[in-house]
Each structure stands twice: as C-alpha cells, then as structure tokens.
Assembly symmetry: C2
C-alpha cells in the first residue's frame, strides 16, 4: 500500500473537466457522470475547477452550483478539492467559504494572477485574509503553483511563511511548474506538506521523493493507468508502469490538451456534445482528434471503458 | 480645438482608482468625490475598473455597486467607460449588460487572460458571444490591449475581424503595450477606431497620428496637465507641455505606480485612508512616498489642488 494513505489527500486526483450543454451553460448531468466514473476507475479524489476544468472561464455562481450538484449526487465531499483561488479577494473568500460549508476535503487555491510581480507580502496578505475571513478549522488549503499559466507563483519563502502562520490550514501544494527541480526543492523543504506534481510525468519520481500522488489533466481520461503507478510504486513493476503512462501522455500533449481531453471523452462516450468548450478555447479539428486517438489505441493500447459507466 | 471631438470618447480619461474603507470594502464616498474632482479638473471621461483601479481585485457585485453609485451621484454615464472584460465569459456578459443598462458610453474590455496563448478564433468567439448576448445597439466596445499584464492581447488581424463583424459596436481600443510602434500600426490600420495610448508618454505623438487622447493611470493625479496637452496639441506650446508631463510621469514611475498614485491622493487630501490597497498590492513605505512627492514638488512644481474639491 502507498505510504501516504494517512494524508488528507493522496493518489490520483482528476481536475474534473466541465461539460457544456447546447446553450453554453455547464451541464451538471454529464459532469456528475464523469465524476462518478472517475471515482470508480482509479481516481482517489477530484479537483473540480482546476485549470483543465476551464474553471477560469466559469462564473462564481456556475462554480458553486456545479459543486453543489456533485455533493447532492452523492460524491463524498471529503474527496473533493475544488479550485477557489481568484484574482479578486472577495471572490476567493466566497468560493472558499462555500466549499468549506459543503465539507470539501480541501481548496486548491491559485494566487491572484492578474497583477504581475506582486510582492511576497502582498501574496501572503491575500491568503491570510482569505483564511481569516473564512475562519473555519475545517479549511484545508492546497496552494496551486502553475507559473506557466498564472505567471504569479509561490516561492519557498512564501510557502514557508504561510505554513508557519497557518500550520493546520495550509497543508498541501500542487506544483504545475513542470520543473522537477522545483518540485524536489519543495518536497525537501516541506516534507510534511502534501505535494502533488501537476503532471503524471513526475508521479513515480514524486512518490519516491515523498509526494502524495498527482493532480493531472490526463487523470480525466487515463485514471486506472495512473492509479496503477500509485498502487505499485514500491514494486518491481513501477518503472514499466510509469513508462506506459509517459508514452500515453506524449500523445495527449500532441494536441491542445484541454480540448483533446474533452474530445477523447466525447469519442469514447459516443457523445459529440462532450467536446464543447467555452471561449477562449475552441474545438480541435475532427481529423486531428481521430488521428491522435488512433495512435493512442494502436501504439499504446489506450481506451476508455464506459461499459460499467454510471 | 481638438480634431477628435466628434468621437464617442476623446481627451483625457482616468482609470479611476478605487478607495477602500477600514473594513476593506470599497468606499463609495471617496470614490465619488474623486470622480467628481477629476471631471472638474481636466478629465473628459472616466474608466472605472481599469488596471489602475485594482479592478481585478474586486468582485462582480462590488464593481456593479460602485458603478451604480457613480451614476446615482450624478456622473454622466455617457462619460463612463467601465472595465467589463473578465476571464469568465459569463462574468463579462453580466458586467457589460449592466454597464449598458446604466447607459455607459462604452465598455473597456480585457480579453480573457487566464489561459495563455489562446487562438484568434477563441478570442473572436469570446467577444462575439459577449456582444451577441448583450444584444444592444447602445453597447460600444473598447478593446483593452495590455500585454505586459494580461499577457493575452489583440493582433491587428483580431481587431480587424471584430471591427468588420461589429462595426457599430467595436469602436475603440486602449493600447497599453507601452510600444509606440504597435500603437502606430493600429492607428494606421484602423483610422476610424478611437485609439487611446495607455500612457500620456504617447499623448502628443498619438494626437498627431490620429489618436483620440489617452487613458492613463496618472490622469488620476495630474489631469489638468494632461488636459493641457490635449487642448493645445496643435499649438506651438505642445512639445513643451508634453515635456512637462513626461518629467512628472518619470517620478510617478519611480515607485510601484498604483500604490504611489493612491499615496499621492492620500497626501494631498490629508486622508491616510486613501492609500489603502487590496492584496496583492501593499502600501509603500512612508519615507519613499515623502521623498518622491518632494521631488514632484521641487523639481516639477507638481501639486494636487483640492481647494475647489467637491
């Protein structure tokens, strides 16, 4: 068994993709079904409203309604790690408070990302004000470091300061820097934080270095294979299993990944509506999707199995 | 008289700074007073909820309430150009609709800025969907190009496509690229757009090349001097007037500009509360502010005069 099972979150967490209906509004039915399928097929938790979820294209009300739909549908809120970090402090407080009231296991928080080059003090105050305003011991904050997109990120110094001030609240971090050296430096500096590399490319290396698992876009379509690495990371098969998910990931990355992941789900569910995106994202060309899926299947034995689909 | 007076907006437009009360909430009283003072002291219009306004640190409700306060206080909505571009399409529609209902003269729209490297098609769809959803001939969109902060911006191709599809709606652009060559290329490609350089450093060059004026942070504290350039750009004094505002601007830029502008207002209003910022911004050190204000006064004869303050 994995060594990290005592942590609040561990294993393979999917940043849940957000389906849209014909009218452009989020579609709770497809959303719930996908969440249930993931939890039945290798995910140990779900991170609705991550980057892959097109969360930053959703309004506050849309996010809160979708989260309520998940909980109402019976998803265990303790396994939910919704994104609640927003540019606007007041919005972040609203979403974080709401997630805590729903008993979510944690909140994955982007820093305020519009204004570039903020000071450490400014970022510290932002998180401090959210935590104080929510004022609830149940709040567990996972810092979301994704400098390639948010541009604004977390230094070791800022992480340390937040952790020291709020040791029972600031408990984890997702590192989507794509830079293993950065992940390693955080793991070394903060061995008791729950650290999730933002890509399964670092799943095995991460587990060996003390990480808690991964929160990765491709967990939306390849959860069982990712879970097999997590389950078997201390066995002789680990490197071979990691090699397999690495090969599949390269194909995912051969196209714009968020549209492609939705297109993959649309394909295997035989439901073209699943591929719909909200601007600024646009759908991929059908031919490109077909070609990449063929490579996934013929070269990597990939498929999504909705035979037992809920 | 300026040649551009037939345009919807022209002259010196201040991206209105947003004051906060002791409780951290926006302070409508200080906000209204500042707006009234600016309109009485050289501004020809106001752009609440621009970058300088810390708009991206404000929630949707906070923005709508503040805008209503301005209109209720008697500010002419035709002179208001509120920022309504948001990462989330639904939020952008909400704010844009609200501004149109209040009869605002225009909406200054950021592109969706979280997801980096969006396609032209994706950005086109975003603006198209906002314009179609609002569905009101009164809507006048000013595209807000600020790549140093938003990262996502507008190419000539995208501007042209939007302008062609919505010729009566997409009527202007603020160029905060800080790159005069870029501003010039937009002015040349689209002579009938109302173009506002995002810095008064380009005010005179812009007017000579056909721009409509400027929307600049420092219009919050130096509106009369900026207006003097706008009023006299065809006179023999123009270059000397431009030189003066350039010297003052350099001092503004010697410190973090948004905190410094608020600190300048706090100083001349003798109201320390004006200097308050919302995270991720933090206040400047008093000594740095005092030193920079002394330079403004002694070397540039700068002051803000609230003698006739409302």
């Amino acid at each position: 068994m994995p060594a990290k099972s005592k942590k609040n979150f561990s294993g393979v967490i999917a940043p849940l993709i957000t389906p849209f209906g014909e009218d452009g509004a989020p579609d709770p039915d497809r959303f719930i079904k996908h969440a249930q399928w993931l939890m039945a097929n290798g995910c140990t938790g779900l991170a609705p409203f991550g980057t892959t979820s097109e969360a930053n294209s959703l309004g506050l009300e849309e996010r809160m309604e979708l989260l309520e739909e998940l909980v109402d549908a019976g998803l265990d809120p303790a396994k939910l790690l919704p994104g609640t970090g927003m540019c606007a402090l007041t919005d972040a407080i609203t979403l974080t408070q709401h997630a805590v009231e729903l008993e979510c296991g944690g909140c994955l928080m982007l820093p305020p990302f519009y204004y570039k080059g903020p000071s450490e003090e400014g970022l510290y105050r932002y998180f401090s004000e959210v935590i104080e305003a929510v004022g609830d011991d149940r709040l567990k904050v996972y810092l979301y470091h994704i400098p390639p997109i948010a541009q604004v990120g977390f230094t070791l110094s800022l992480i340390g300061r937040l952790k020291k001030a709020y040791p029972d609240t600031v408990v984890g971090l997702k590192d989507s820097s794509g830079d293993w050296a950065n992940t390693k430096s955080i793991l070394e500096a903060f061995p008791d934080l729950e650290i999730f590399p933002g890509s399964e490319a670092f799943l095995l290396d991460g587990l060996r270095a003390g990480s808690a698992g991964t929160i990765s876009a491709s967990a939306n379509v390849n959860p069982a294979a990712l879970h097999s690495v997590y389950q078997n990371w201390q066995t002789a098969d680990a490197d071979a299993l990691q090699g397999r998910i690495g090969g599949v990931r390269k194909v995912f990355q051969s196209l714009n990944m968020i549209p492609f992941i939705k297109a993959i789900v649309a394909h295997y569910r035989n439901d073209p509506g699943w591929a719909k995106l909200r601007p600024p994202f646009v759908e991929l060309a059908d031919a490109d999707v077909a070609k990449a899926i063929k490579i996934l299947e013929t070269e990597h034995g990939f498929k999504m199995d909705f035979g037992k689909a809920v």
